[in-house]
Symmetry: D3
Subunit: 226 residues, 6 copies
C-alpha cells in the first residue's frame, strides 16, 4: 500500500474554519479510499507564534519555547485527529513510535511536533521515512511553492522542480533557527529527505483539492534528487 505524508501548515488550521476543514477531511478520507495509506503532520502556525512570542519576551529560554511550539502544533493536530475520526485515532500522537503503531493498525496517524530542536517539517520527513512514503505533500498557507527567495521579495519566482541542494541554498539564505520563526523548510528535514531520497511537493493548500493536484505533479514545486 502506497504511503503519503501530508504536512498541514498550522495557518490552515488556526483559527479553525468549518468549511475549509470539512473539505480537507473529504480529501484526506478520499486519499484513503483511493488506496493511499495517509499520515498527517500539523504545524503550529500563528497559534504557536503568539504563545512563543509572549514567553520569549517574558524571558523564557529557547528550549522551552520549542516545547510551547510543539504543544501548540499538537493542539492543531488534535483538531485534525478528531475531524478524521474514526479513520484516525482521535488524539494527537506524540512520538514516532505512536505514529508507527497507528499506521500499523490501518489508521491515519496525526501528530504535531515531537521534541525541541526539531520542526514539524523534520517530523514530517522522519514519518515519511519511517512509513516508506512515496511522497511528502507540504500543504502551505497561501504560498504557491518554493520561491527563489522569500516570496514577498521583488524578483522572487516560483521554482517548479528543484534538487535538495537547490532547496538547501534557498533555506540557507532565508532561514532563522529561533523557535516559531517562519520557515518553509529546514536543514534537519532536508537532511532526512536527502538520506532517504524522499520526494517533497510544496504547494498552496488554501484549496484542499490541491492535494490531489500536487500528488499528480500538476501544481507547486517538487524537490528530489541531487
Amino acid at each position: 500500500m502506497e504511503a503519503v505524508v501530508v504536512k498541514v501548515s498550522g495557518g490552515l488550521v488556526h483559527p479553525p474554519r468549518l468549511e475549509y476543514l470539512t473539505r480537507l477531511r473529504n480529501v484526506l478520507w478520499g486519499l484513503g479510499e483511493a488506496g493511499y495509506s495517509v499520515a498527517v503532520v500539523v504545524g503550529g502556525g500563528g497559534l504557536a507564534r503568539s504563545y512563543i512570542d509572549v514567553l520569549r519576551r517574558a524571558g523564557v529560554g529557547e528550549a522551552l519555547l520549542d516545547e510551547m511550539g510543539i504543544e501548540s502544533s499538537r493542539l492543531n493536530a488534535s483538531l485534525i485527529s478528531k475531524l478524521l475520526y474514526p479513520r484516525s485515532f482521535p488524539y494527537p500522537l506524540a512520538s514516532l513510535r505512536e505514529v508507527i503503531e497507528a499506521h500499523m493498525s490501518g489508521l491515519i496517524p496525526v501528530s504535531g511536533g515531537f521534541q525541541p530542536g526539531q520542526s514539524t517539517n523534520a517530523v514530517a520527513a522522519v514519518v515519511a521515512e519511517a512509513l516508506g512514503a512515496s511522497m511528502l505533500l507540504n500543504c502551505l498557507n497561501g504560498v504557491e511553492g518554493v520561491y527563489s527567495d522569500e516570496p514577498s521579495r521583488p524578483g522572487a519566482r516560483l521554482l517548479r522542480r528543484l534538487t535538495y541542494s537547490q532547496l538547501e541554498s534557498i533555506i540557507e539564505r532565508v532561514s532563522s533557527q529561533e523557535a516559531g520563526s517562519y520557515t518553509l523548510w529546514d536543514k534537519v528535514a532536508l537532511g532526512v529527505a536527502r538520506r532517504s531520497g524522499l520526494r517533497i511537493a510544496f504547494f498552496d493548500c488554501r484549496d484542499p483539492a490541491n492535494i490531489w493536484r500536487a500528488l499528480k505533479g500538476e501544481i507547486g514545486s517538487i524537490v528530489e534528487g541531487g
Copy 2:
C-alpha cells in the same frame, strides 16, 4: 503551610498579553514568597470554544469535544507553567496524581482539565480538596463576581456573600452542559466544594493584584456554608 488554589479563566490567558502575564507571574510568585502553597488551574476560554464550535458543526460528538476543550485548557496551562518556571514544573499536569506529586515537591502545580464530563472548575475544586486548600480563588475575565442572574441581564446584581445552595440555584437557572459553553461554575464543582466545605472567591482578575484583594475578602463574592 496554607494552600490556595487559583483558577485562571482561559480568557485571561488567550490571546496572551505580555504585560498582563508578567504581572500575573509576580502575584503568583508573591503568594509563594508570602508563605502560601499555590496551585493553578487554567480554563480553556475562547481558544477552547473556537476549536469546539467548528468540530461540533462538523459532526463530532460531545465527549470528544470535551477532550478538545481539555487539550485547549492544557495549552493555556502550559503557557502559565512555563511563565512560572522554575517555581513550577514547565509543563501542564494531566491528572490529580501529577498535581499532588508536584505539590509534594514544593512546586506550583499548573493544570488544565482532566477528563470529559468535568469542567476546569471541577478540577480546581478537586485540587483544592486534595491539597486541603483554605480557599479557591476564581479569577474571572471581566466579571466582578457572582451575579443574581447572567450578568448582562437587566436587574442582575452582584452578590457579596452566598451559600452553596444560593450558588446552586443561580447556576441551575443559567447553566448549560454543552462542551465549552460559558459558565461561571457547575454542579460537580459545587458538589465537591460542598462535601469538603471549600471557601470559594469569585472576582474580576483583569488586574492580577485583585488576587490579593480577593484573598482578604475585599472584593468580589465569597461562597461558603449552607
Copy 3:
C-alpha cells in the same frame, strides 16, 4: 455497528461468584456475536465502600477517597476484563482515550472510574457518548429499576418510563455527593446523557439474561427525552 454500553454494579462483581460471572460472560460475548459493539464500565460497590469508609474515618480527604473508589472499581473491572479475554484486552482501561482505542480495535473495552469528582455512572455516560452508543444498560444489584423514591421507603414505586427531568428530581431528593455513597445515578451522568440524548435502561441484573430483556425494553425503567 450498533454500540451499547453496559454499566455493571460493583455489588454484582464483589465478592466474586463463579456461576454468576460465567453467565454474565456468556451474555456479554453473546451481545458481540449478535452484532453489538459492547463496552463495559464496572462500579466499585461494597469493595470501594469498605476501603473508603476506613480511610475517611482515619482522616483522609474526599479527593483521595474518590481515588480509592476509582482504584477499587478498576480492580472489579480487571476481573471482568480477564473474564472476557480474548474478546477484551485483559486489563482495566484508565481513560476515555484507552477505551476508544480498544473499541477501534474491535475489542470490548472494560473500565472502572477515571478521575475524582466523577462516578462510574458518569464514566458510562461519557463512554456511551464517545462510542455513539444507542443505549446505556445500567445493571443494578437487586433493584428493579428507578423508583419514585429510595426503594426501601414505603410508597416508593417502580417507574417504567421517565424523562431526564423526572430522573433529575428523583436523584436530587435521594443523592449525596460523598465518595462511595449509594446512588442510582448522578447529575454529571445525567447532564452528559441529556446533552447527547442517550437512552438509559435501569434494571435488576442478578440474572444476567436480563441484559437482553432490558435491551428489548421488556423490564426495568427507560429514561429518555425531556
Copy 4:
C-alpha cells in the same frame, strides 16, 4: 540513613479495620521519626485469592491470575499509601523505578506486586536490595514466625534463628507455585536475599508494635547467613 523494608501481609489490610490501620500508621510514621528510611510492600491476601480463585475456575490462565493478584496487592498498597500520606505519595507504585524515585525524594514508597511470576515477597526482597536496607521486616497475619513445617501441622515448632538454606528446605517442603497460594516466602525472594545477604525477620504483626520488637530481634524468627 538506615533503610528498612516492611512487607505487610495482605490479610492485615483486607478487610480493612480502622483501629488496626491507625496503629500501623503510627508505627510506620514513628520509624521515620526515629530516623529510619522506610519502604512498604503490601501483599494481596484474601482479596487476591478470592478474585484469582473465581477466574481460575472460569478457565483463565495462570499468568493472568498472577496479574490479578498483583492488581489486588496494589489495591491494598493504595490503601496504605493514602493512610501514610503526606509521608507517602498517596498512590501505589508499580515498578522498582518508581520505588527508587519516591525513596530518593525522602518519601515512604508503598507498592504491591510488580510482574507475573514474582510474589510480593520477591518484590520486598528486590526493594530491600535496591535501597540497601539493613532489614526486611515480614509482618505476618497470625503466624509467630517461621515454623519447622506448615504451622497447623502437629509437631511444627517456631524457629528463632535460621540460615537461608534452612529456610529453603522448609519452603521446598511446603510451597506451591500456583498464583495466590498461601506461602510464607518463595525461592526467588530467597535467592535475592541470599545474593545480597539481607537479614529477614518474620513475626506476627496483629499488634503493629511488634514491628519495633522484631526490629530489635525480641520476637519472631531471623533469617540470615549460610
Copy 5:
C-alpha cells in the same frame, strides 16, 4: 492458532551478524506463514554481562545490576523487533501487558526482561503461559540441549527427554543467582513451566533452521511432565 514462544539467547544477537540475523528472520517469518502465532523473548548475553560486571566492581547493588541486564536484553530485543518489522512492532516491549496487546493485534511481540529478580527465561515462560503457547523454544548459543552437568565438565551428556524435576535437580547443581550469571534455565521459569505444563525445547540455534527441527522434536532436549 497455535502459539509458540522463541527465546533467543543474547549471545546469538550480540555482536550482531548480518548473515545470521537475516536467516533468523526468515525462520521466524516462516513460522508465521506456516500458521504459528510467534512471540520472541531475547536475552542479554555478553552485552549485559560486560555492563553488569563493571558496575558490580564499581560497587553498584544487585537490584540495579538486574535492571542493567534487563535494559541490555531490551536493546537486543530492539534489534530483533526492527529486523522483524512490519510483522513485529519495531520496538521492544516492556511488560506482559504490552506483549499481550501486540499478540492480540496479530503481530510478533518481541521483548527482553521485565523486572529485577526475574530472568529472561522466566519472562519467556510467563509469555508462553499468557499466550497459551504449545511450546517454548529455547534457542541456545552453541549448546546442543540440556546436559546432565555443566556441558564442559567431563562426563556431561546430552539428555533428549527430561521431566521438570530432572531439570530442577540439574539447575540446582549448576546455577547461581547473581545478576547476569550464565544459566541454562532458572527456578522461577521452571515453576511457571510446571504450573502450566509448558513443553520446553532446548537446542543449539547457531543454525536458525534448527528452530524447525526442534519444533518437530528432531534435535535437542524436551522437558515436560513430572
Copy 6:
C-alpha cells in the same frame, strides 16, 4: 547555581572499563561538590554503529536506524546513571521533560538520544539551553578538539578558538547525515548553540580529569560567538 552539560562520547563508555568509569564518576561527582549543577548526555558510539550497520544492510529504513541509535545511547546512559547513583536517578531519561524534572530535584540528569533526526549532540545542546548552562563540555574519545579537517587527513590542525560559523563550515565539509555516522557535531546542535549563545568546549576525555581542564579553557577547542 551554575549549570554545565557534559556530553560523553559513546566510545568512552562502550566497551565499559572499570578504571576509566570510576575516574569519570569522581570527576562528575566532584563537579557537583564544587557547586556545579551537572547534566550528562551520552552518545551511542561503536555499540550504536554495530547494531545500525547490520540493520541497514538487512534493509531497515533510516528512521528506525535512528531509533536503534537512540536506544543504544540510552543503554550507555543507563550505565552512567547507575554509576552516578544516588546523585543521579539510576535510569536513563528519555525526554527533555524528564531531564528538567531531575534537574529541578537537584539530581544529575543522564540521558541518551531523544527522537529520530536528532543526534545526541543536539540533545546536549537542547539540554544546555533548557538548564541555562554556562558551558557544554564535549568529551571526545581520542580527539584533541576541533580540527580544520577530518583529523586523520594530512594538514588537519587543531583550532583552539572558533566561531559558530567556522565550526559550521568545517562540519559542512566533513559531515554525513546517515544514522550512526562519525561526526564531531551537527547542524541542529549548532543552530541550537547559536540561537542561545552556548559556549562549547571540545577536548580529549580519555583522561577524565580533562573535564576540569576544559572547563578552565586550558585544553581543547572553544566555540562561541559569530
